[in-house]
């Protein structure tokens, strides 16, 4: 099973894997969500959606539906 940003827990980090072209909005990439970059889940809104991530130093909020399209490799020894 693949892991996506939607499955991160608060404070957990991961590295974005290669993703299939054309799925993600280009704006997300402009903000720095590119393969190889680190993503940290900062905060989850009440009712679990949207989520607030720190990607490559940029803090953005995205909806869970988009988050589940970003595959990543969880960094195991993340704090908390």
């Amino acid at each position: 099973m693949t892991t996506t940003v939607a499955q991160l827990k608060r404070g957990q980090k991961g590295i974005i894997k290669e993703f299939a072209d054309g799925i993600l909005p280009v704006k997300l990439m402009e903000m720095g969500c590119l393969p190889g970059n680190e993503i940290e889940l900062v905060q989850v809104a009440p009712l679990k959606d949207p989520i607030y991530i720190n990607c490559n130093g940029t803090h953005i909020a995205i909806r869970r539906s988009v988050a589940s399209l970003i595959e990543l490799e969880i960094i195991e020894d993340s704090p908390i």
Partner: protein, 745 residues
């Protein structure tokens, strides 16, 4: 020296671009719209060293030249069109030292357009605290540009920017990146088809519409042979381009940008924890909302009363000073009343924008959107709809303009369509007067019935907005991809200068924009009410005088004359007693007689005015619509007030004042006059619970605001949506009011 250097300020949102603009231009700025669309256009003049002047254009914030919104497409269109009169001699790209990497993406794109570009790195004052060190020389060399390190908060570095602008001819126009490597074959083909064109520009033209369904912009026509690639393919290439650019930027920043990760990042995390907390977050938001309401309804009442009194006395002054005649009436009753009707809203609008700009400047607004997004979604709305819906309680016009930040067209359209249901401040005077008239005094759990009714009306408005959004969401078949991506900016202490400028600018645009319409309506109303064609109208004076001789004054006038004569008598006795003066009986009687003559004169004039109005164009129109409004419990006079309210709701009270000829806009007098109005058929008071509730509900739902319709047309670029709003909302209002009246009657 008349030639000005044309400068365009470009940058990501939240980089302090507006602050830089304000510091460069001061108050010498002009805010307008780009022709045909509602994207704001800010321009200003800046004095540079050696007597040179620059014309500064503040372009909307954009993350890149890959357009995803209307605001962004304005930037791209300008930069692609060399013949545009605003095409810049030099681009000043504003970046924020903490987000330099992301900001440079846009910078490299501008560079590749071969426009001379200066890089401004803003918020330099944060570098020490955030542990950031920069090698400016290396950056300048690698990016092939000139850099100014600026802190708008501390006011440093602006002189350097001016220096660089004045010196723009020495800037390199070499591109940073060769984009063609992402698809060599494709670009080769382009080159052979259009040998004279710049390849990167062509690429931008071709990909303009890939991510963005424009609703209102002039499409750049592309010869069919260009479209050799499908949209998904182009999108993929755009992503490739983005990756390529980041590779270039990362390579540079690795050497030139160092950040000490151990430096404090505490404040943001702590604030985020509290402000987006699942309990405290909503609680804080609620308290802030309460404060805003309090400001709009309570604090602003002091300046509003002052303005009201000012215009009333101004109108009185004109009538007493200028020679009587049509012209004087036009000024006093048409124009001054009209301007007063606009100016009265300034305090509320100013307060609203004060709060909104504070919330936006501080970075809090993004947190609200974050909190509300999931709650709004079942209704087809976005978290970003919260701002317009809140603003709508002041005025729907700025609220609808605030929907521009919603990227999803369907969510945006629904927000635009339902916002007019929220109780705007123009409904307030109508509500207040009718509630005072028909809702009994008395308390429930310590809260007055009247206050509860008012609150209920606000809830009904909001409920109607949410409910209709839900229905629209079900029936509208618009296919849109949701891509809610929102930057969560750092918390910042709002800059006073920026806040003041925003408030000034928005208030000005309201006064001029909405003001024109309200003024025009006032003049038209005045004309229709003071002109007629029938003999009854022209001979009003004789007819009324004869009637008074035969039948006496109307019951209301008899009563009011009696009471004012009594109070005059009392005050006369009081003042005499206070001064210890002794006046003989004869003198008192004389004085009372004089007063009575004056009162009779006034009452006569009022009845003449009233009779004239009844037979004026407006009166005739009112009687024509009487059968339509009769089932709702209104007579022709209220019918006229309701009809004129379709221009703007706030006209209601003023129109009734004219119709009932009470001669003053003062609420209490109109209220008394309305309370005394008798239904000619039932011989009971016309305003009772049934007709009052029916009127309240009608105003709660009906689409009575020309300015809102005009703004919806501009934002959606079709008359279809405003027409739908007008028809559906008003029909709905009619039906609800009808049911209410008929069941309560």
């Amino acid at each position: 020296m008349s030639k000005q250097i044309k400068v365009a300020l470009i940058g990501n949102p939240n980089t302090g671009k507006t602050s830089v603009f304000n510091q460069l231009t001061g108050l010498k700025q002009k805010v307008g719209n780009y022709p045909g669309i509602t994207v704001e256009k800010k321009e200003g003049i800046c004095k540079l060293p050696r007597g040179v002047k620059a014309h500064i254009l503040d372009l909307p914030g954009t993350y890149s030249l890959n357009t995803t919104s209307l605001d962004e497409s304005v930037v791209v269109e300008l930069l692609l069109n060399k013949n545009d009169k605003d095409f810049p001699d030099v681009a000043v790209v504003i970046s924020d030292v903490e987000n330099l990497k992301r900001n440079l993406l846009l910078f490299t794109q501008i560079k590749d357009l071969k426009i001379p570009a200066i890089l401004v790195i803003n918020m330099a004052d944060r570098m020490v605290r955030k542990g950031i060190s920069l090698d400016i020389d290396l950056l300048e060399e690698k990016l092939n540009t000139k850099i100014a390190l600026v802190s708008t908060r501390k006011g440093t570095g602006i002189d350097k920017v001016k220096e660089l602008i004045a010196d723009y001819k020495n800037l390199s126009v070499e591109p940073n990146i060769d984009t063609t490597v992402i698809a060599p074959e494709y670009f080769d083909k382009l080159k052979s088809t259009f040998p004279n064109e710049d390849l990167y520009k062509l690429w931008l033209v071709i990909t303009q519409d890939v991510n963005f369904m424009p609703i209102e912009k002039n499409p750049i026509t592309i010869p069919a042979s260009f479209k050799t690639k499908s949209k998904p393919e182009l999108k993929r290439l755009q992503q490739k381009e983005t990756i390529l650019r980041y590779q270039f930027i990362n390579g540079i920043l690795k050497q030139a940008y160092k950040v000490d990760v151990n430096a404090a990042k505490g404040l943001r995390a702590t604030l985020d924890k509290i402000l987006t907390h699942k309990v405290f977050g909503y609680l804080i938001f609620f308290v802030i909302l309460l404060t805003i309401f309090q400001a709009i309804y309570d604090w602003s009442s002091y300046p509003m009363d002052f303005i009201d009194a000012l215009f009333a006395s101004g109108s009185e002054w004109v009538k007493n000073t200028l020679p009587p005649g049509v012209f004087t009436d036009l000024i006093a009753e048409g124009i001054l009343a009209g301007i007063g009707g606009v100016v009265i809203f300034i305090p509320q609008i100013a307060f609203l924008f004060l709060f909104i700009s504070l919330l936006e400047e501080s970075g809090y607004m993004s947190r609200v959107v974050f909190l509300m997004d999931r709650l709004m979604r079942p209704f087809g709305l976005s978290g970003k709809s919260v701002v317009p819906l809140i603003s709508g309680t002041a005025c729907a016009i700025p609220a609808i303009m605030a929907t521009r930040t919603i990227e999803n067209w369907k969510e945006r359209l629904i927000t635009i369509l339902v916002t007019p249901f929220t109780t705007c401040s123009a409904r307030l005077p109508v509500y207040l007067i009718i509630i005072a008239l028909v809702i009994p005094d008395g308390r429930f759990l310590g809260l007055s019935y009247q206050a509860l009714t008012l609150m209920l009306l606000y809830l009904i408005g909001f409920g109607a907005a949410i409910f209709s959004a839900m229905i629209l969401n079900k029936i509208m078949k618009i296919k849109t991809k949701t891509f809610f991506v929102m930057e969560m900016p750092n918390y910042k202490l709002p800059l006073l200068k920026n806040v003041v400028y925003t408030v000034l600018e928005k208030t000005k645009s309201f006064v001029i924009g909405a003001g024109k319409i309200i003024l025009a309506i006032s003049i038209i109303l005045w004309f229709l009410g003071s002109n007629g064609y029938s003999d009854d109208f022209y001979n009003a004076e004789t007819i009324v005088k004869q009637k008074i001789e035969k039948e006496g004054f109307t019951d209301f006038n008899v009563e009011s004359m009696k009471s004012s004569l009594n109070s005059y008598k009392e005050s006369l006795h009081d003042s005499l007693a206070r001064n210890g003066a002794i006046l003989d009986k004869q003198a008192i009687t004389d004085s009372l007689q004089v007063k009575e003559i004056l009162l009779r004169q006034k009452a006569e004039n009022q009845e003449i005015a009233s009779y004239k109005l009844e037979n004026s164009y407006m009166g005739i129109a009112g009687k024509a619509i009487a059968p339509i409004v009769h089932p709702l419990g209104y007579d022709w006079k209220i019918g006229i007030a309701v009809l004129t309210s379709f221009a703007a709701r706030e006209v209601f009270v003023g129109t009734l004042a004219t119709i009932y000829s009470v001669g003053s806009d003062e609420e209490d007098t109109i209220k008394n006059r309305m309370a005394a109005e008798i239904d000619p058929v039932t011989k009971k008071p016309l305003f009772n619970l049934a007709s009052g509730i029916s009127l309240l509900l009608f105003y709660a739902f009906a689409m009575q605001c020309m300015s809102t319709l005009a703004i919806v047309k501009r934002e959606t670029n079709t008359w279809k949506w405003p027409a739908a709003q007008l028809v559906f909302m008003s029909l709905f209002a009619y039906i609800v009011a009808l049911i209410a009246y008929q069941t309560l009657k």
